[in-house]
Amino acid sequence: MGILYLLSTIGLVQGLKFMGDPARARMGNAVAAFSVLLAMGAGIWSSILPATGTVHLVLLGLLLVAGTVLGRVWSYRVAMTAMPQLVSLFNALGGLSAVLLGLNMVHGKGVDGSSMMSSVVLILGVVFGGVAFTGSIVAYLKLDGRKLPPAGRLHRTVARVLLVVQCVLLLAHLLPPQPLFPFGQLLTTLALIALLYGVFLTLPIGGADMPVLIALLNALTGVATLLAGLLFKDPVMLIGGILVGATGLLLTMQMSKAMNRTLRSVLAGSIKGARGGAAVAEEEVRPISAVETASLLAFGKHIAIVPGYGMAVSQAQQSVYEMQGLLQRLGAGVHYIIHPVAGRMPGHMNVLLAEANVPYASIHPMEEVNDHMERYDVVLVIGANDVVNPAAESDPASSIHGMPIIRAYKAKQVVVLKRGMAKGYSGERNLLFERQNCRVLFGDAKTSLQAVIDELKRI
């Protein structure tokens, strides 16, 4: 059994490693899945006790099959645009699973709170799982565009109070020689508080901070798995949990860095004192028609497309790809430039473009092209805002100052596809729109693009 566990642990590490390499990612996923299967087989085999009846095994088999079928159906039925929601939902299920396991430990024979270390591990596991569960559910609802009650400072305060209460309860349990409450009650209470905490923590976070949040929730489930691994003395769970936790944490840090914000400021939900008011006045912006846009594009030799969340909202990725084809037929080179935090989860834009068949080779990360943006004749910004705002570089008073941006303003001509004059997530006014070389094509991204495409076809 030990050997099987060892093999599957190595498989997990190796699989995850492959997943970081575009050429071997798919194999990596398969390796990881196979390793888990292997460990599961070994785990089931060694968990069979004399008391285990056929009923148990049949029930287990049914559950495993049902879960696999459900997972398979969901993951293939969901549209690619709904990927962030699905990932959050799966994460929520994992978190809930951790909570149930923990509660079961006390009701069943497992831990009774007599050993301090294992009771702390158990409590933390349940708490992390609980926060990940409700947090992911809230994130799911947000990503799905459901109307949630507006949240602000009050919610953040409640979240802080809940956290303090949790710490106090935990200490009150650990410090006195004689625990104040029965362990089961304490655990249930803490679990409930953790569930509430998850809701209040995530409600005020939204918009461009979503990628950070999702990566963080993922890390939390990883930590819950790690703790469960300690509790069950299961090396595969332990290592798996650590890997997930490390991945989540790393992505969280990368995303925060891409926004030049600390994780704390994301969680605090506050973008440092956005100076309200100052919306761009309509007359300062030079609008452009679809026909003009088409002719600009048709004469360009080097064209860059900067997609943002707006492209995901109007599901314009297919139109973008169609336009790319037309432009290439006219002899232009088309590049896509993607900001690390564009969209609502890490790598969101890459998934959407891949779905629309956009070749991998034409997608460029921001760092690669930012120093020679001048060579682009036209930069088409589709539903992105803050990530192209030059205020991040030029205006030290701006709330997004210091955030790395795509220097679209350096291009010969910029056309921004925008629904209206709404500001970006940060609420900062976008200095790009006031520049001489920038014009704005108003309207839904998909509709506008379709008009441009029709015009291009006529050329």
């Binding site: 009846g53 699973s97 690390p340």
Partner: protein
């Protein structure tokens, strides 16, 4: 056949924790942005192995212990959905990436 014992009190457990944490960071340090989403959903799938705990509980439960059976069954089911769904969805996503790579006539 050998037996692995993890005891949090022993320094060995902490060694394993610390080393595998470092390993985890090393393994995924330089992942390109294209793969962020698949990496996240793939690691999300791995966190579904928390269902192993549910399996242990379920198989160890006495036949009359309805509460344990119900709770652990739910944990197993949810964990399985997380696990299988996560791997399937990652597979599907990566399939799309591969498709775009092969169908690259220009640029």
């Amino acid at each position: 056949m050998f037996d692995l014992h993890y005891q949090l009190t022993s320094i060995d457990g902490l060694f394993i924790l610390a080393l595998s944490l470092l390993l985890g960071f090393e393994v995924i340090k330089n992942v390109p942005a294209v793969l962020h989403t698949p990496l996240m959903s793939g690691s999300n799938a791995i966190s579904g192995i928390i269902l192993f705990g549910g399996i242990t509980q379920l198989l160890g439960a006495a036949v009359g212990d309805i509460l344990t059976i119900v709770l652990s069954s739910a944990a197993v089911l949810l964990g399985t959905i997380n696990l299988a769904g996560g791997f399937f969805v990652t597979h599907r996503m990566l399939g799309m990436f591969r498709k775009t790579r092969h169908r690259d006539p220009r640029t």
